[in-house]
Symmetry: D2
Amino acid sequence: MTNKTDGKENQMWGGRFSRGPSAIMEEINASIDIDRRLWREDIAGSKAHAAMLAAAKIISVKDNEAIQHGLGQITSEIERDEFAFSKALEDIHMNIEARLKEIIGEPAGRLHTARSRNDQVATDFRLWVRRACEEAETSLKALMLALTKKAGENADAVMPGFTHLQTAQPVTFGHHLLAYVEMFSRDAARFADARARMNESPLGAAALAGTSFPIDRDATAAALGFDRPCANSLDAVSSRDFALEALSAASITATHLSRLAEELVLWTSPHFGFVRLSDAFSTGSSIMPQKRNPDAAELVRAKAGRIIASLNNLLIVMKGLPLAYSKDMQEDKAATFEGMDALSLGLAAMTGMIGDLEANESAMKEAAGRGYSTATDLADWLVRSLNMPFRQAHHVTGAAVALAEKKGVALDALPLEDMQKIEPKITKDIFSVLSVQASVASRTSFGGAAPANVKREASRWLAALNKEKN
Amino acid sequence: MTNKTDGKENQMWGGRFSRGPSAIMEEINASIDIDRRLWREDIAGSKAHAAMLAAAKIISVKDNEAIQHGLGQITSEIERDEFAFSKALEDIHMNIEARLKEIIGEPAGRLHTARSRNDQVATDFRLWVRRACEEAETSLKALMLALTKKAGENADAVMPGFTHLQTAQPVTFGHHLLAYVEMFSRDAARFADARARMNESPLGAAALAGTSFPIDRDATAAALGFDRPCANSLDAVSSRDFALEALSAASITATHLSRLAEELVLWTSPHFGFVRLSDAFSTGSSIMPQKRNPDAAELVRAKAGRIIASLNNLLIVMKGLPLAYSKDMQEDKAATFEGMDALSLGLAAMTGMIGDLEANESAMKEAAGRGYSTATDLADWLVRSLNMPFRQAHHVTGAAVALAEKKGVALDALPLEDMQKIEPKITKDIFSVLSVQASVASRTSFGGAAPANVKREASRWLAALNKEKN
Amino acid sequence: MTNKTDGKENQMWGGRFSRGPSAIMEEINASIDIDRRLWREDIAGSKAHAAMLAAAKIISVKDNEAIQHGLGQITSEIERDEFAFSKALEDIHMNIEARLKEIIGEPAGRLHTARSRNDQVATDFRLWVRRACEEAETSLKALMLALTKKAGENADAVMPGFTHLQTAQPVTFGHHLLAYVEMFSRDAARFADARARMNESPLGAAALAGTSFPIDRDATAAALGFDRPCANSLDAVSSRDFALEALSAASITATHLSRLAEELVLWTSPHFGFVRLSDAFSTGSSIMPQKRNPDAAELVRAKAGRIIASLNNLLIVMKGLPLAYSKDMQEDKAATFEGMDALSLGLAAMTGMIGDLEANESAMKEAAGRGYSTATDLADWLVRSLNMPFRQAHHVTGAAVALAEKKGVALDALPLEDMQKIEPKITKDIFSVLSVQASVASRTSFGGAAPANVKREASRWLAALNKEKN
Amino acid sequence: MTNKTDGKENQMWGGRFSRGPSAIMEEINASIDIDRRLWREDIAGSKAHAAMLAAAKIISVKDNEAIQHGLGQITSEIERDEFAFSKALEDIHMNIEARLKEIIGEPAGRLHTARSRNDQVATDFRLWVRRACEEAETSLKALMLALTKKAGENADAVMPGFTHLQTAQPVTFGHHLLAYVEMFSRDAARFADARARMNESPLGAAALAGTSFPIDRDATAAALGFDRPCANSLDAVSSRDFALEALSAASITATHLSRLAEELVLWTSPHFGFVRLSDAFSTGSSIMPQKRNPDAAELVRAKAGRIIASLNNLLIVMKGLPLAYSKDMQEDKAATFEGMDALSLGLAAMTGMIGDLEANESAMKEAAGRGYSTATDLADWLVRSLNMPFRQAHHVTGAAVALAEKKGVALDALPLEDMQKIEPKITKDIFSVLSVQASVASRTSFGGAAPANVKREASRWLAALNKEKN
């Protein structure tokens, strides 16, 4: 890294510095490569601010018209990819203001009246995070819809429920998928709460203390879709908890995505073979042509690392910073963009995988029967039919399982006389609860795995999600 | 660490294991040292469950009475510190159930009907986290009240507002404190949202699939103060996002606490001297008897590390776990307890420090005048009085500051003729905006630092916080 | 939490504080519940310091004798659990010094000459971390030995090598276990490096600036087993990178442990069935009596969260702290103890599990043949025997696999004529490379999976590890 | 985000997939935007591999010549920015191999003999991390040199030493800077250790099991500057602890950088005024023209968040991954690049700031005298001259400070008679130790703050650092 100074006066803060920042300084200080993504928000904020300044007679109507026109032209230029972003101008705000001056001249210099980069950047970034929360909520609902549809189709497809990755009790594939619908619905609600909480306008806080100009903060707040202006100017420019809350919601969502991704990796392994991902979401191997790798699922699982680290990053940056603005806070954007981008991609990939996947019902059902998965049903039968205390029933069941294991047979293949040797009161009625279908069908308690429950829940979710879309 | 086996059969899962878990296994597996804190929640859950089982005729009224009585006795024993916790019984659930059996005999074995440790622990832990959220919200409001009172007392105490720890513009100490009231109010709202979202009952999800017993999950939910039962049994036993959300709210709060703590460390440094902490929250030095160290503030600042790490811990634990329960999830409690305990302590210490602190108004005011802090006021005057574009006014101001600095005088001590050499249209009216009091009094925009604003906001918060208390 | 003041003067810093610290302050400030673990280190440091003071004639020989005797008595008291630790005395240092005063009177007051709590705590903690590094290294070698022995026993037990959890190519179980020996050997080396780097004595740095007493820092360094004294007094009392380095080594080790733990969870799942853990390291289920849960493996996997979070915790605490000592640094011990304890337990549990596990060779071998795992061997045969470019061989192999899959047969069951339809030059020699045994036997490149390699490597490691033990 | 499929067969894994990956899949799967930075390493690895294949007669001399020539041409194309990177080709490896095929035709297809993308990417990435460690070590030494020079110039510039940001005892600015030289020297040693440990070649591990081709791994290891080949093929392709170790060293370094950065922010604040940063490393304000903001220091402080998060990211990604390669590991590069880039920038900026800064000796010295900073000297005098036990001397000193504070005078301005009222044996000799110069000059213990020590240490470091450069 070379350390040449560029020899010309920095264009933004003028004459007090005898030489421009060095190349290192430009490298560490300039944020334009990151914050150019905020161009729409920056222009929207400036348009609202200029219109308010004119309405409050702080600038002239004519100046406002020039500013609105110039900002409109810049919008077109950026949209058409004809805007020349400059690192020497440091950030998106100065890039746009400098271009505005080229286009409209002197009135551009009036736009920054009663404003500071501190409230400008706080406004732009909050608008961006607000939109990212809205998009996350929308994407989560698309994923919930994909899961709900697949759950409805598989409401009675028996599969093993696991604990400790050991076969525990039969459930259905639909029931399993609906568990994720519940998780993602809470994630969506977290983004909605975050969005509602952050929806206050920092604009007009100026550098940190407010301003002596008679500005109308309600007007700019309304123009930008905020519910109200922030009530304290220092808080407005110094706080980034809105981004931290969005990243927290993203991190929690990421744990859910990573759990489902882990399951896809397991289920597509030949050792499980429960599902087949579509070609679109599998890849091959350069040296092992037969492989069908669940790359997308693995990448979604890994994105949890990135998203959690983004939250960690911003929490660390904000720790211990005195009020008001410190330059440390410039790092808020890279962290937040990375975290929210990774979430967005992870949600899209997961929605694609779920929508396309094909369940292998026979493999699931076969697996559901392994491992004495209806042992609990046996124990429950003892409690219900023989009025045995549960803890005693548990011991009797353990003995039956041990015997079946020794004989190498499934629980429902253990002869009645063998069972009766363990507990003489057992009758042949016991066999009515030992099949996986019988087991799963019996789980009719609210929230239980019975196919009837699953169908009802899938319908409920489908209606709710479709209603929201309309 | 020795690896002796204890030679006796494990008391919980009975006969299939030929030798007991080794000492290492006991050490890594037993959670009683951690989860004994859940004893109240565990007993409440068992009482609700037994009452429901009796109402649903799954157990007899008499058995229920025995269970209620036995659990009542255990409550007394634990409250009187007469309960012998046993590591061999692994966790709080088995400790209580084993004691119940000693007290009431066979009916104890019926309590676990239609229940599993999986939904039991999920219920207990959720109850604990719910209460921790309520307490955090209450503690935050106590801190907000302390800040609001101190802000009201210091509504017109001028102090420097900083950016980059450089003197920027004058504000008031009250305005500065109210910025934190805004932050902590959002923190409190986050805990309230988390509490509302988590308030669903896992009880009755059993191991993972629900149960075939005709249980009444609405009844147990209502008895435990939950709004409704969880709608999916797998989700009920597998999800810990409620704890993650609480730790996220705690982590964001911790950044706010750490920022205020950093400011206390700065303000009590002899280089600032803005405030004096009470003796109760200062400590001395073993070798430097003159020291008054802001230990409590430093410890609050450091607690951010612990709280953020607790969140990080649980996010990492949950990443990539397949459904349903995995033993990894046993680590949820240590992480959550540590994070919420550290928050609780940090909030209490900060409330104590704020309540007791004394502001040094003269030191603050003197500092507020340093560093040409009214330069913006000069620039704004040029815009307002001379209709100068802001960017041009900014350059003129820069020249005036440079001249004042060269002459070694404050901005309001720069002679008018000097100013006029820079900009001939400047009149003596300029001096009406260059004092720190004039500056701060002029910041009357909504949310601005003007004392009138600060008084109004402090009154508004005081009324709101007192209303809630009643 | 009550906030009563205890009414009596704090015993440590004397008269300048008009009232004692409040209960909150005691709660947040006292570290004795954490740092009492440092008692051995604290006494060792004090003994070395007192002996040096006497040798340098800063205190009398008689005073030193009294101090040595008193510290010896305290050692006995703590070892016999007869020492009354007091929270009011805050930390281990004051607890011991106060007791020393009770035992020997006035000479106790001379022990702190030319010393401060700052260098005292830095010394104690460094001694503790040094020992923790030594123990981690020793534990890692015990685990490596268990893995090496098991690898030697399973040097030719064919198992599937996975990528993306898809069957990729056959390896042997021994080869797989030796991969972890390599990882853990680097982990052990990291602890050794950390230990060597931290082995400098902070004692004598006093509060931060050194002292005017003619102390002999080389003498105390030597007495405590340090290689030399720290060369800068500010660094000596302010740095905690030695703990960060230990926690980094622990975190990296934790990723390795968690990977092996994940594999144990997979391998013990009925879907794999590759290994059986001993009863000592499995647990049952309260409701599903047939379960054999790999709880220890899951807990080891989860401990990665705790260990990584401990590192995160201390990194966050240390971030941005100005020199020299800040009270924030008191949090170093909780974080480090937790991380190193979790590592210690994880290593012991893993060593136990590996030592006891039984491999199911037939299940592994059967699985190794699935999924066309010798496709690469086919491609390599084409390259070697037909001089086909690898990329072309890859395409031919892909076609053969697709045909075998369509016919539902293994690759070595595809008739020669079918192969020749795809590539006419294929001869029956091809079948010599398509079995899993042939495949694995052919991997004789350095570091490859061939049983001969595995045996050689296992012997090499066994010799190296046994040599170190002697 | 649209989800169109591109309609053409994926070019890498050929015919088994009926349609290409969707747009989402390309977005999440392709790594070329990240890993194109590895182009030099990829070409070096391929050249070494091809040369070895020819030497081992696995490919022909002519094919090798073609490959070497083709790779040389690609090098030129990339250096001249004439290489068209393609996202459809996913990663740097396929981009280069595809271009090689265009240039040299069929022999390109032979390059991948006895190699896999798994060992290829492991080799490339390890080469990159190795270089990054070397550069970090070099940069650290440049920073140490800048600090050492500045320390030598300020060996006797008295400044306050702080604990808890309270004035504690006088030190010198040179002594303070040398504390950081110690820290950064350990950081440099950590990078050196990491580099040495990782310097083994994965090349030849192939996909995971080694190969049946008679490759010479020693030859490729030597050609690429590795000390030896990795001894286990599974470890070679599955481990990323080398990157974790580099990121750990970076994170620890980042805490040191952030501490020094915090001090620069404090020292440049008008409340301290200890140092002045050069214009090159300060910035102005858009609304407050008088500001000189230490932006570079704040950004260096903030980078700690990014660097620690990068480590956290990769630790989380690696947690719980079974062997061998999982696609999750593709995320290793983004995390590592970001962390090491941020470190590199932070080190350069800090070196620039330190090299340019000007110390304000008089402000430092004035501050060093505040806060009764020589109280310890008074206590030590009592011990030394009156043979008072330290703890008693501490109490006497506390009384003297309290009296001086009450009278509003410095300690050396307290009349002798006042002192004698507290302790009659005090003589006027006491005043010889109460000035800041006397205090600092007396700290001659090894590692102490005395100017003579500082000069000696600065010379020692200067010699050591200059020697290394030659």
